[in-house]
Symmetry: C2
Subunit: 299 residues, 2 copies
């Protein structure tokens, strides 16, 4: 079944210990879409400026991403500049230029309003709420957020959480949102806020999944080297949601595999800058790495 | 088969955010022995002072730990005082009193010199080398170390590593020993130094196992709260080595399960101060948690 994503499409300028790349394709919805596209059709809702190259749109379409909802506004595309040091977990932001993204207030195309699977990427929870209200009876709604919204739009975020099936959050944010140091306790608190399921992303340490009656813990896949972690979290979510949308059946039955597929997709994202690696892999590469992941973790 | 451990038996004074305990039973060989004793008979080699209570020795014996090699010297028992803050990964040392441990230079009882399974807990690698030379044809030798020896006795440590089958090391130490940020690369470098197998301990993030042709990654078991992490690494090693000693067959065949048993034992160690929890569990508690671990990680 098809999967709708609302988020950012951007230009990234990134410096890591391995090099620098300028104005490459980035944005939460981009990484999510490309990752999910390996599993199910994706409908993308975002905004870009007149400077956004045709070739990027062709790339998205070629991967099975429908761009009917990608609005081109007069002005410049959202851009972000960041720098990573060796620990790779927290980039320093050098510049954020919201540009056309500052007034992002999407009106969904009519044919997207019955979307069964929905992912609200990390944007202002006020907008996440507004978009969600345009969709009639989705089967599964997931969202992401960030520390900025926890600190500045907590009320809107909490309103959103009541309507969420799967909440993606990283470990620092889970602690910040709940005031609990223990992730087990934090997850329990988050479930009380509304989401039926919580996935806590721990970067190079894997992820944790919690629902009221189930827990699942995965280490990260082992890579010799990480080149650029930008987009890893969105790529992870894209793999999870893409797999769930194609499985279409019971979420509980598919979720563990979905999370492992998400982890596998994230490993491709971090192996090169931008979508250079993620955009060139095949289904076979994914299956091979999924099987390796099983071998790495089962006993 | 029986398992020989050489290390420290000590008094710990520990402060955590949950409270303080004074002069309780601690030491690397103590945690290791009690943990391993659930799987196989253990022979303990260590030194204590005249102040070491009979009741501690009775406790060890009751658990199946042979204390023929526990020498009582005139003087005081080694004691350590440390404090943990909320992150629980790095205690600040407030005081270390080596006392009788300062001249620890064990001469193995004759009946221990044919030990098939040997664990050299974290002590001066010079002494680890000397002890090992007293054992004739062990089947499996494992050791632990710490940053202090990497910084101050690297030559002796490297000499030891040539004779080691399984090397237990934590992630920071693995990076320090090899100068590699990537744990995959660090493990490869360590295997080149001699050990056939390396287990990298990542605390709350689980552990990684590497040999020339195999990799195994485990997340940590999920606990709602950690009360005192002292001894977790030695308890982990005790579970791993105890399980291998009782399995007695091919190490490669048993190692994944051994590592999970080690992780399970460590969770009991951290649930209370000293050996309060670890010393009172049953085989049934261990099996139950092992099965939960499988449910937590398999997909």
């Amino acid at each position: 079944m098809s999967l709708l994503v609302i988020g950012s499409v951007a230009f990234d300028t990134i410096t890591t210990p391995f090099g620098k790349c300028k104005n490459v394709l980035g944005g939460s919805a981009t990484f999510f879409s490309i990752s999910a596209s390996f599993f199910s059709p994706v409908n993308l809702v975002a905004v870009v400026g007149k400077d956004f190259p045709e070739s990027h749109i062709r790339f998205l379409n070629k991967k099975g991403v429908d761009t009917k909802g990608l609005v081109i506004e007069s002005g410049k595309t959202f851009s972000w500049e960041g720098e990573y040091n060796w620990d790779f977990s927290n980039p320093s932001t050098i510049a954020t230029n919201l540009n056309v993204f500052a007034d992002f207030n999407p009106k969904l195309p009519r044919e997207y309003r019955n979307a069964p699977y929905v992912f609200l990427a990390n944007i202002d929870p006020e907008i996440q709420n507004k978009v969600l209200s345009q969709i009639s009876k989705p089967k599964l709604v997931a969202c992401d957020t960030m520390n900025y919204w926890i600190e500045n739009k907590k009320k809107e975020l909490k309103k959103l959480l009541k309507k969420i099936d799967i909440f993606f959050i990283n470990e620092a944010e889970a602690r910040e949102l709940t005031g609990e140091a223990s992730l087990v306790k934090a997850a329990k608190d988050i479930i009380k806020m509304g989401p039926k399921k919580v996935i806590i992303k721990k970067g190079e340490h894997g992820s944790l999944f919690f629902s009221e009656n189930s827990v699942f813990s995965t280490p990260a896949y082992l890579l010799e080297s990480i080149h650029d972690p930008t987009g890893a979290g969105d790529t992870f979510a894209g793999g999870v949601m893409g797999y769930l949308a194609q499985a279409a059946g019971s979420v509980d039955k598919s979720l563990r595999k979905a999370i492992v597929y998400g982890s596998v997709m994230a490993t491709f994202a971090v192996e090169d800058f931008s979508l250079r690696r993620l955009g060139t892999i095949t289904k076979k590469d994914i299956t091979r790495r999924f099987n390796k992941f099983k071998k790495l973790t089962h006993f």
